[in-house]
Symmetry: C2
Subunit: 222 residues, 2 copies
DNA sequence: TCCTTTTTGTACATATCAGTACATAAACAT
DNA sequence: ATGTTTATGTACTGATATGTACAAAAAGGA
């Protein structure tokens, strides 16, 4: 929205807006919306209070911006993971592995999902947050559903399968990872949960048990 | 813990401790832990501040008590729902219907799950809450798993099925209901999600498609 | 009646909250 | 050099947070 190529007039900023937004997101992520004070945000972003207001508006506007960016990034990560060229199983596992990579940052305590840690709490008293959250979740559902339809068209999923219903299950697995990673469960346990979910989704309707290897075992069943 | 049958000495209390705890729970439920002030708790419980402290200790202790009671009640509701005499499908749906009844109180806005609205946020910064939450979720897993083993023993579930893994999926459905009910999804949509989850769990391993009717269709498959 | 026990209600102490006014600093423009 | 523009840093305001001191009230006991 800002013309970035002509030189700015006054005193230069000492912060990078993108990086500051990312740091603010992390602060909300770890403490929740209400428990994150402006002092904490100021310290996290290394911006003083008036600069924060100048750049992002008040606390609520800053949070909304962080929420929007998180959902948009989640969507694009998910789109990339759900590659149509890959076997359905692998594509789904890429989504869950990507999610787990976010929920368990390197050598740090699990932080789970930003949405479940902040937006889900605020959604009760903040209709705007609730709508953004709902839209985000429904978009994730749609992405799963689209990929499942592709799998169905390619014969990886039985024609009797219901892609919309299975997409709901695929999202439910994701929601469960988001919740459990905040309840102390280990990454390994959650990956195993994701794998059994994928097996159930892919294997539920007479699809070949190991499409990864593309062996044509259409008659037998394990 | 209190001897309730011999007469108390001093000025009588004007509140009922159980009812006050329930009202405090509702206040946390709707606003989250951090955003619920002692003034709000005082108003909700109709107890003045010193009485609150005398009865429950500080805000954190009050919340811990509320959390404990919620988990204990959830467990007993779930135990009752997972009746061994009922078909597995019906037993599972009783759990989800019971959950939805809590998440959508009568003629009021959806409030979702107490755990996801309060404990999941606090678990990042409060190890005690995280452990209680984790124990609670694992207990719910165990209850599902036990019921699935019974179903397996009764022939409702294939011997090849993995009750522990399916229990994880059953819990995931529950977590998704908890999350989505706070994101604006309707009760009808969530019930449909639960039904497709139950169908997937029960139908995944060659079980009869309609065990409700107890027809012995052991050979054919749909 | 007077004492003891327990709860209540007001009023307070102290800390932190979100948000802003204002002077200073650092860049470009002329 | 001087002015304009934008950002910074300090210090403040009023509101609200949690937790508590203390006196009055309401019961039983002697």
């Amino acid at each position: 929205m800002n013309d970035n190529h002509h030189i700015r007039r006054g005193r230069p900023r000492t912060y990078d807006p993108g990086e500051a937004l990312e740091r603010a997101t992390e602060a909300f992520w770890r403490q929740g919306y209400s428990a994150t004070s402006l002092d904490a945000l100021s310290e996290a972003t290394r911006m003083n209070r008036p600069s924060l207001y100048g750049a992002f508006g008040d606390k609520h506007a800053l949070y909304t911006t962080a929420l929007e960016r998180y959902i948009a990034e989640g969507r694009s990560q998910m789109e990339a993971a759900l590659d149509d060229e890959l076997p359905l199983r692998d594509a789904l596992m890429r989504v869950y592995d990507g999610a787990l990579a976010m929920y368990f940052p390197n050598k740090s305590a699990a932080r789970g999902c930003f949405l479940i840690g902040t937006a889900v709490t605020e959604s009760m008293t903040d209709a705007d947050v609730r709508e953004r959250l709902g839209r985000g979740l429904r978009e994730f559902d749609r992405l799963f559903e689209r990929r499942l339809r592709v799998a169905q068209a390619q014969g990886e999923l039985a024609t009797s399968a219901d892609p919309a219903a299975l997409a709901g299950i695929a999202s439910a697995i994701l929601h469960s990872l988001a919740m459990r990673s905040r309840a102390g469960d280990s990454r390994a346990v959650l990956r195993a949960l994701a794998e059994s979910g994928v097996a159930l989704i892919c294997g539920a309707s007479g699809a070949p048990p190991k499409p990864t290897q593309r062996r044509a075992r259409r008659t037998a069943r394990s």
